[in-house]
Subunit: 314 residues, 2 copies
């Protein structure tokens, strides 16, 4: 008997190191014909070329520095240009440094920003904008959209754009980023245009896709989700912490481009517009390892793994 009797599957956000991508230990099914043997995700990744990967752009990468480590986030200027510009200014000027994570609602989101209740006590925004327009969606024209063939209940088309999980409506000619695990959004009040990027949340639970097109998605976490997802849940309404000392201090949020190069976290992401990615999605849609008795024949947008690796040192 195997003492590690378990659920064989990998997490959505993959481990960092090139060889540390956690996979089922079980072997592929016995090959009948060489050509017909389906490849595992690891085999597909092992066969990728350097051009299948892209580096993070330091000017659109944020580091959230916590006592427990660094969370790496990729911004999405193609979808939320005004918010991203404001967030870049806020980061440049150290707006969040010394603020805190103020909310953790189980199976939903964590959120950080200025916890002060009164306007007079709130941190000044420096040269950042107090108001920016809502950016819930954009024109689908000019969006390089890699469509998934899989059915989705929330949108007529889902897929990937600029490496982000996204959706598209061809009748309305709109595209938008979706609320999958790790998505980063700009908290707002009741008014659609009441977000400015100071309050940011990250999805830590079952994809709350009802938020799509209702709030501005500004990017996603590409590494370090496990530092956010384990934060104790707040016991106040909406998961806000009831006592200031329960909040998690933010040491700093910086643009990678403002961090000395040797202190950066170099990362490469598998491009989503490649054959390798399409093959990987198919390997996940129909799991062929011996553990699976019935491949699903389907994958949900938010179950697609988005591989991240450390660049190979030359």
């Amino acid at each position: 008997m195997n003492p590690k009797r378990t659920v064989a599957a990998v997490s959505l956000l993959l481990a960092l190191a090139p060889l540390a991508i956690a996979l089922s230990a079980s072997a592929a099914e016995p090959a009948k014909k060489e050509a017909a043997k389906p490849r595992s995700m690891q085999e597909i990744l092992d066969a990728t070329q350097p051009s299948d990967w892209r580096a993070l752009d330091p000017a659109n990468t944020l580091y959230l520095e916590l006592e427990s480590g660094r969370v790496v986030m990729e911004l999405a200027p193609g979808f939320a240009p005004a918010h991203v510009a404001n967030i870049r200014t806020l980061a440049k000027e150290g707006y969040w440094n010394g603020l805190s994570i103020n909310r953790s609602q189980d199976n939903f989101v964590v959120q950080w920003g200025d916890a002060a209740e009164e306007d007079k006590d709130r941190k000044a925004l420096g040269t950042a904008q107090q108001k920016v327009p809502a950016e819930f969606e954009r024109s689908s024209e000019g969006v390089d959209f890699t469509r998934l063939p899989d059915k989705d209940g929330w949108a007529s088309q889902v897929g990937f754009a600029d490496g982000f999980p996204a959706a598209r409506d061809n009748k309305e000619k709109k595209a938008w980023l979706t609320h999958c695990y790790g998505a980063i959004g700009a908290g707002r009040d009741v008014a659609a245009d009441s977000s400015n990027g100071t309050e940011l949340y990250v999805v830590t639970g079952q994809a709350p896709r009802q938020l799509d097109r209702n709030i501005t998605v500004v990017g996603r976490v590409v590494q370090g989700m496990e530092l956010l997802s384990v934060l104790p849940r707040g016991t106040g309404p909406l998961g806000f912490y009831e006592k200031p000392k329960q909040r998690t201090p933010i040491k700093a949020i910086r643009l990678a481009s403002d961090v000395p190069e040797k202190e950066r976290t170099p990362l490469e992401l598998l491009r989503t517009d490649t054959t390798a990615f399409t093959d990987l999605v198919e390997a996940r849609r129909n799991r062929r390892d011996e553990w699976y008795k019935r491949p699903a024949g389907h994958i949900d947008l938010c179950n697609v793994p988005l591989p991240v690796r450390a660049p190979k040192t030359p």
Copy 2:
């Protein structure tokens, strides 16, 4: 400006107390006609009758006792009778007492059981069965299935059975429980019938529906998910902890029926075969509070809240 600029929504597993169900603070839209005013989830819950709720059956309720508190789990004898019978025996005989939670994989599952690597070191099963049949699905005949009208990519029909998120295939005449947040399954090795209920996992991430019909679902967590979802992620393969001291000790897993009545956690669950529940699903499918600018017109099976409350004291 509202300093709590935020994401207004509730978690999937609701707070316990009758009035503690966390809701958006914002008021409903201004009423145009009394009859046409859509009700909020809270208003629907407030208008429920006692007959809309059911008590947990103590003989099919497990308490997982951790240092941090109690996790309450409902077993599903209608779907996994052999596993549930074995789990009841294991609990009755104290099998898990002193064992530990050995795995926490980010955005996937936590898992507990016997961490011993060698068969000779493993805890004896007492009068429980070493082998039980796989119970991945059952005949759909006799299943009281409340169908959701919403599209699902993983199954031809989804809905609720015995209060559990479930799916059905009318051609194959099968029904099964689905892997939503909080689902409890019986870990297994490569052989389909290699689970016996000793190793249990709980879904803590984006619904891994690819596991449906590939492993036996034995129940779900109805209270205390936040004690499991915050456990530090294991850094070994599949999220297993690398060092024994990283594991979370299990003080006990007991059947509620074996616990003195005054030490039990009395809970009521909203029945899923009621008009109140149908109304609640619709209120979530099309959010009408002022915060939402575009109701989704859809809800995913695993986004449907399953309300739990403490019974009203007489």
